[in-house]
Symmetry: C2
Subunit: 338 residues, 2 copies
């Protein structure tokens, strides 16, 4: 397998990105990791690692889409960015997948408007998260690609999430739910109410609406929502976990006795982190485009980058892109332009 | 002060409700707590407590709006519910505030359509949460009264939240923010983008859009959002905190050494709980109606109920209802019917 890693993706590029690529090349020795970005910067980082016998390649891309770049503008103007060059390799069959921890809006714009483009029939691609929860992995989409959605988009997100959960997570009949402010069918925004009707008639294993409580308890395999709500949902999850763990750390350190207790309990905190740490997953796929694209968190460290590459491997092995091409029900409407 | 407590509110009514009223009557000995609900059930609960010298009164209401009742139906049909009777006492000047841990949709319907009604000029009342966060109290609204919102509603939520934060929390110039999926002005749903323009021209201390991370870090005093997103936001906050504390407890108990550490660290966990436990706040006001109405969590225990009564006292003392009546900018549009 040949996997492109955007070396200029994360907040602290290229250090964690290149280090993650090295970890991945070491773990999956048969695969080739193609580092895309500024060649001199990549070589400088690679020199810090023992890369003997690792299958690492470099493809130069002179421009970088930065985190604070306006996505549509950057995608249009920075045609030689690591995103353009990297996704073009996938489009042209020279690589199997593209992985980045970069500007998510930039990824979306470069993918849909300039390189891989949407799968025929897909109204809107969806950024997908694989949430690590105590009950297991939960697929959530859309978490940010589409701030304004129509009910038909949510139906397609559900269909793509269903295909992904079957192909990659091995669910035989994924439980699909709509994220809402109440479980009763009468609850929800107009969007949720209309999408709920479409899902009930979709042939999917639609279990109805769930509140965040049920979603976090893992009562559904695929949680469907618009990109605005989904983004608030996962960012609130992350921010609450960070706030609470910081508060616990501070209060444990606040007295000598509790500090000793904290030291003794440390292995338990380690086990907690391994069960719910987003770095264990690394990234989630942008579904609905002609190629495997995995987007990780800007704050990714090397371990998270390595795991994002692992997600790309799973999506390629599961044949997710072809499964969506073949599996999406035919559209009655004409395809809209993005 | 005379405060009505809905004795039939919480999931386990009337036990925690009546016990909370007893705690409140003990703490604020000058105030009168009026328990509204089924008289026999209330008397039976009161018999479990030492109520000598406490200023507790009972007003009988034969019907109960249950948690799973459809709100608009129940508000129309159960005219003798504890909600109708309780809020009518406030409307008729026989009490200063109404407190309930009951069906929030029911409270909204009984308040706006059948008893207290909206303050003139208020387009939509907003259910408000006072979030206990490490950085302090943060006002969030709407958290569930209006699943579908227009930009003008969000502007009014901001104005009401500003008035509340001044009157009750003592903020001299509350920092107002819109909850969004990104801080940049270009980010957000169409609703957020349009509301953002209205807020920028409002004369309020509008600091822009915040992500959940900034909201949870207390970077704004008032976080404004539509009722669907706001509901998902606070429920995700609650559910994540519950998931994480449960996971930490389980992992600490999983080995003898970490269990000892957990015992030693216990006071720290107690301090954490006191800093971020919603029961410390008890409930939040339904803003925009002609009277103080505080809505608490269905899972409230006696302590939370007592603190919800405390919130009612603060809202009455702060003169929130009159401040909204006097402080809302005149409306150019005609008042819409709810």
């Amino acid at each position: 397998m040949r996997i492109v890693l955007d070396a200029m993706g994360s907040d602290n590029y290229p250090t964690p990105d290149v280090a993650g690529a090295v970890l991945a090349a070491r773990e999956w020795g048969d695969d080739i990791i193609i580092l895309v970005g500024r060649e001199d910067a990549i070589r400088q980082e690679l020199a810090k690692h023992d890369t003997a016998s690792l299958k690492l390649e470099i493809v130069h891309a002179p421009e970088v889409i930065e985190m604070d770049d306006e996505p549509a503008w950057a995608a249009r103007v920075k045609k030689n960015s690591s995103m353009h060059v990297g996704m073009s390799l996938v489009r042209d069959g020279q690589a199997d997948a593209y992985v980045t921890a970069g500007n998510t809006g930039g990824v979306l714009a470069v993918a849909t408007l300039h390189t891989l483009r949407r799968i025929r029939g897909v109204k809107r691609p969806a950024q997908t998260a694989i949430l690590p929860l105590p009950a297991g992995r939960v697929v959530a989409l859309d978490i940010g690609a589409n701030a304004d959605c129509r009910p038909e988009y949510l139906l397609q997100f559900a269909q793509m999430g269903d295909i992904y959960a079957r192909a990659v997570l091995g669910c035989s009949s994924p439980r699909i739910a709509l994220l809402s402010n109440g479980e009763e069918p009468g609850k929800g925004s107009t969007l949720v109410k209309e999408a709920s009707k479409l899902l009930a008639d979709s042939g999917l294993n639609f279990i109805g609406n769930v509140e965040p409580k049920e979603a976090i308890a893992g009562q559904a395999d695929v949680v469907v929502t618009d990109g605005f709500t989904g983004n608030v949902f996962i960012k609130t999850l992350e921010a609450t976990a960070k706030m609470l763990t910081g508060l616990i750390r501070d209060e444990i350190k606040a007295s000598p006795l509790t500090a000793v207790g904290g030291l003794l309990a440390k292995p338990a905190f380690g086990r907690v982190a391994r069960r719910v740490n987003p770095s264990e997953v690394g990234g989630g796929p942008l579904l609905g485009i002609n190629g495997v694209v995995i987007v990780g968190h800007g704050r990714s460290d090397a371990y998270a980058i390595k795991n994002a590459i692992g997600q790309a491997r799973k999506a390629v092995e599961g044949g997710v892109v072809n499964a969506i091409r073949d599996g999406l029900p035919p559209q009655q409407d004409d395809e809209e332009s993005a």
